[in-house]
Symmetry: C2
């Protein structure tokens, strides 16, 4: 087949050959050299225009952002920076780009400016690399689970349940916004709403995924989830994608094995398949770092961090051990932590997680057996009666990236917990059924996909790793 | 590695070996033979209990639906219906299942009953086969696009735009449902809502996908979409998954090539990888068919239908030719169609589409160049000024399964169309930008994923091919 993308073209044998290629002009210099990009890879291909034999009207229209159709011959490049180039025989302007108004000029733009132009920002090297990596990570995830006998489950987005309590929810409705129907006692009559009751956007597919694990054995979800929380930070989105595997007959130790193997596999996939984009982002971060004072610079480059995860065994440490380590640590004693660890039961902050990974153990860490009262109702209570079989995976630079647990499979213990927390049994009748009929040990974890993309790309704002971010006051595009 | 699932076990060399397996009891007969299933495949494994040396209390608890842990030896089976079986050495009941109340008894249940027990229905052969196929089709889709250089784009679920007009939308809000804030002139003040404006659930990711196609070249979406339409039919869901590839520099002919190759590839994937489940569903349909009068029976079995798509070239026919064929057809002349085709411009119904595929051409059909006024605003106007470069793919038994188009890339023509339809340019400023800066021919299509799953499984109600269906008055689980 004739190569039709620049990525394919660059993989060809570089004997002289006719090429026919379309793309967008990144730059045009000396009235002669077009750097052409079509998004298929980070690399541009240099197209050399015979300007003496090209119409001046055409030459004027070769501007940054213009779409062009080029025919010519592939040849060894005379210049530096590329091994091949196209000797242009004909060029057609498909779509002009007015250099006076085109927002994506060949210069450094602030990420803030590019967010406002999210529809055009993948025309830059940084964002095209980030989004190719995002795509590759998605595929690595599906491939990992498919190769390992998992079934993909699409859990519902609109839910009638708000029992999981993972966070504030968005209401989904088509009642009249101004004058909704009311019941006799003056409340909104949700029986008149589309689904006959109040419905919300899901915060997690886990509970539904459990129903499939308890019949198909090994399953996972990969879909959008939502939080209606007013947190305007660089780590939170109102709409984000989550991966949630759930496995029957698997205990917490198996869950840790799975999570470690999975994370190494997907990181290994991009190291193998997306090295060019990773190198570019790595260099970008090193350049940024050079502008910072020595003390604030990263100890590892991006690629070093990825290898650190792919090549190191994850250290497994109980919460109780971790608290001891933190309590006796220098930053705790010298009150360098913002939150001082005084006693067992404290919820760990990002600073503590990063200390454990980056300073103390110097490898990815899995913390397990957390205090029951800082974790969710469905987690398996340990025999000590005060800890649950929960686990969190901590990564360098980012802290917690995975959270999981063995689930409470005992009907009586689960009911008791729900009662204490005021969760209605009626609402979760189907979840309780799993404990009534053929219950068994089972476990799973959740991975916020955008956290993974941030880790793999080194981007520091979560708004820059999802195509069109949704945050408080922002649902543009 | 020791096999841990029945699917792995059945792939082993069947020399005698120790096995250790967990699963759920499907049936237990003669106090001796357990049919054990763990969801990894359609097949059960027969476990032979030495009932004379097993505690009677344990034997009583081996009931349909119970979770058990079995250790034993794999041996050649003496009985019919399986080549190997497990000679049980020890059995542990992990979770009981009260036969008096367990809903999934070893008998035929109505699909309606199973819908009410959607959390347990994958414990049946039919639904486990359907959901394994759904998972396999999902993977086939990701694999096809990955292998062909496409990037996966997660387009937003919550959208501030309602311009596409593909259907009624659900509102996403966290304003007080009863007493929303009002503006001075008495309307609901959506600037007070979470995103600072009125927001809805997306009906399509296409427009956003176009922005990525016009930078990364070849992209696709695969995500949930929504319709707040009160259609309680066996073909409509309020929440469903859609696949939407979008490719820069590709015209309508290329779009047809892509769609045909794609459909053949994903159908081919399940024929190759899921034959056992397909055979089971095929047999189920044949059994159903036998109960029907001759005239209503299917002409092709399920697997024949799949091969019909995988092996036949899709016939490409213009809308205008199709209208001629239909106008002169027997069922039209004899008024057997519910909707008689009188003139050019008529919108085709499912009966017409099926006639073309099943009776006239006897192969999958791609109709193209539809009248502009029955298609969406963004489709490329042909030079005749009255048709657009739209295409629909028609399949046997189901009618339209794919709808696509070359997009209008000319700014002036697009603006004119939007003006006629009253679509606000302000709202789609970013979509128009694609035509201002480096515009080019581009095309794409949409495939309703559940329609594909229906086709591949032979299920006739769309509620039975998605784990937890959302329809008017129903958002259970």
């Amino acid at each position: 087949m004739k190569p039709s993308t620049i990525s394919e073209l660059l993989k060809q044998d570089f004997t002289l050959q006719e090429v026919d290629i379309k793309g967008w002009v990144r730059t045009f210099r000396a009235n002669r050299f077009i750097a052409l990009n079509d998004g298929s890879s980070l690399q541009n291909i240099q197209c050399v225009v015979d300007f003496e034999n090209t119409d001046e009207d055409i030459l004027k229209r070769i501007t940054t952002g213009a779409a062009v159709h080029i025919k010519g011959e592939l040849a060894e490049s005379q210049g530096k920076g590329q091994s091949v180039e196209i000797q242009v025989k004909s060029i057609e302007i498909l779509g002009d780009s007015d250099p006076e108004t085109y927002p994506i000029q060949p210069k450094k733009h602030s990420f803030e400016f590019l967010r406002e132009n999210a529809h055009l920002r993948t025309r830059t090297n940084t964002f095209s690399a980030v989004m190719r990596l995002r795509s590759s990570l998605s595929f690595a995830i599906h491939k990992y689970f498919n190769d390992n006998g998992f079934f993909y489950v699409h859990t519902p987005i609109i839910t009638g349940s708000d029992a999981e309590g993972a966070g504030e929810m968005f209401r989904v409705t088509n009642l009249d916004a101004k004058t909704p129907p009311l019941t006799e006692d003056g409340n909104v009559d949700f029986t008149e709403d589309f689904f006959g009751k109040e419905t919300n956007l899901t915060v997690s597919g886990q509970l539904e995924a459990e129903t499939y694990a308890m019949s198909l054995g090994k399953v996972y979800t990969f879909g959008p989830t939502f939080r209606a929380e007013n947190s305007n930070t660089s780590r939170h989105l109102s709409e984000f994608w989550m991966i949630e595997p759930e496995v029957a007959f698997m205990d917490l130790a198996g869950n840790m094995d799975l999570a470690e193997d999975f994370m190494k596999s997907v990181i290994g996939h991009v190291l193998e398949n997306n090295y060019e984009d990773l190198e570019f982002l790595d260099q970008r971060l090193q350049d940024e770092d050079k502008k910072k004072p020595q003390a604030e610079r990263s100890e590892m480059t991006l690629i070093e961090k990825l290898r650190f995860v792919a090549d190191n065994n994850f250290k497994r440490v109980s919460y109780t051990e971790a608290i001891d380590i933190l309590r006796n640590s220098k930053p705790n004693k010298k009150k360098k932590f913002k939150y001082i660890i005084n006693e067992w039961g404290a919820d760990l902050q990002s600073e503590h997680e990063r200390f454990l990974v980056e300073k103390h153990f110097k490898c990815p860490v899995i913390l397990f057996d957390y205090p029951a009262n800082i974790k969710a109702f469905y987690m398996r209570l340990n025999e000590d009666g005060k800890t649950v079989r929960a686990m969190d995976i901590l990564f360098p630079g980012i802290g917690e990236i995975v959270g999981g647990a063995q689930r409470e499979e005992r009907l009586d213990v689960l009911k008791q917990k729900m009662a204490v927390l005021g969760i209605d049994e009626e609402e979760l009748w189907w979840y309780l059924d799993l404990r009534k009929y053929g219950t068994a040990v089972h476990s799973g974890f959740g991975l916020g996909f955008e956290r993974l993309v941030m880790f793999a790309t080194g981007m520091s704002n979560i708004r820059d790793v999802i195509p069109f971010p949704r945050t408080p006051q922002n649902a543009e595009f």
